[in-house]
Amino acid sequence: MNVEKKEKEALFSIKNRKLLINPLHKDNPITIQVLGVCSALAVTAKMKPAFVMTLSVMAVVAVANVLISIMRNGIPPRIRIIVQLVVIAALVILVDQVLKAFVFDISKQLSVFVGLIITNCILMGRLEAFAMANKPWPAFLDGLGNGFGYGWILIVVSFFRELLGSGTVWDYPIMENLGVYNFGYKNNGLMILPPMALILIGIIIWVQKSKDKSLIEEK
């Protein structure tokens, strides 16, 4: 206990704030670390599932980070990946069961996405790289930050895919209400397909790196 107190720092010290903010831009899991791209392609055809996916990933990665951080001194290194995977899988199943019991409608919309969180590389990445070596509170912030860093990309990508692919935003038929169909405008079916998500993420990376040259790796 005493040792803990000596090292105690403010809950939102600069270091801790960085844990929360860095993953949004400089250390973004999708655009900089290029992790979790697989699910970013799969769940971004519409905004609603992308949003709930964001929330679910944030919850799971934050809680998993805390749990692994608490357990970190007891985990035998040789089976640490298995331990991490078990923690993630257990949490994801729990989230899925709770959604099914209490918010059935949302759970139905998400269908397989919730289960897909298990295979999200960001989770394993954070547990292995951060939670295994840090205290629970920073681990929690790191989890939230990375969850949201993943999530905002999803939301931006799904906004454009839904707008251009289905002509809606959050299921609201904006294109129809603007009356653009009368001028011969058509929804772009290509936007619904996964390749366009990849291209959109590419565009985001391009914009991000051209705004902030320090992100460009040297050859």
Partner: protein, 245 residues
């Protein structure tokens, strides 16, 4: 360094804790989940008969509107009738019949039962037939409501476990389902079913257009699965319909 014994002990304790947490969560949440599933099933049945229900009033509306549940066997005889909350004959409720198991029996060439629900729309008797089939990634299901000639479609609903969002998953949208309204299952008393046609029904011969709807672009396998589900489920009723006409 950790000994092997420690590793085994650690792993065993961990999986026991996780198993305990998950199974108690599953046990605790099961009644809620089952209730949700029953409500969802009722909602689908009501929706195919053009009755909009919210999660709160579904059970009430179901009891009010679906006044008869009939179970039929594969040769067209009535096995049981459940009417207004009581069994008139037999002892199987069509609502509780597990269509998945019955269709499995069918695929094995065994005897099987099928459900038929009776309701009313604008004072006329209508039939609701539950459907079940296999999609691209998992099961798909639905309900089809027909007039009492067993041919003209009043409405359909489809649901799926995990079809591709934006593609196959579009089968549960109103846009797709509204295409079925007014289509015919029979052609001059001959079973035709309804097909989901890739490339659209514009390519069909004129007399077949009444038996087809447009498929979903990018969702060909799911579209075909819907066609197959309709044929596989509806054909079971043919013996019953011929016996009763």
């Amino acid at each position: 360094m950790y000994s092997n014994f420690y590793i085994f002990r650690y792993a065993s304790v961990m999986v026991i804790i996780v198993a305990a947490v998950l199974s108690s969560a599953a046990m605790f949440l099961k009644p809620y989940q089952e209730r949700n599933e029953a409500i969802e099933k009722m909602k689908g049945i009501l929706a195919s008969a053009k009755i909009d229900a919210t999660t709160e009033n579904t059970i009430e509306l179901y009891e009010k509107n679906v006044n008869e549940e009939i179970v039929i066997n594969n040769v067209g005889d009535i096995v049981s009738i459940y009417k207004n909350g009581n069994f008139e004959s037999g002892e199987i409720r069509a609502f509780n019949l597990d269509l998945k198991k019955e269709l499995y029996k069918k695929s094995k060439g065994l005897e099987f039962n099928i459900p038929l629900l009776v309701s009313e729309l604008n004072g006329e008797k209508i039939y609701i037939i539950p459907l079940r089939g296999t999609g691209l990634w998992g099961p798909i299901w639905g309900n089809i409501a027909v007039q009492d000639n067993f041919s003209t479609v009043i409405g359909v609903t489809f649901g799926h476990k995990g079809e591709t969002p934006g593609l196959g998953a579009e089968i549960d949208t109103k846009d797709f389902q509204s295409q079925f309204v007014g289509k015919e299952i029979f052609e001059d008393g001959k079973f035709q079913s309804i097909s989901v046609v890739k490339g659209g029904i514009v390519n069909l011969p004129e007399n077949m257009k009444i038996h087809g709807v447009d498929a979903i672009s990018g969702g060909t396998i799911t579209s075909n699965a819907v066609t197959e589900m309709l044929a596989n489920c509806l054909e079971n009723y043919v013996p019953f319909i011929t016996k009763n006409n």
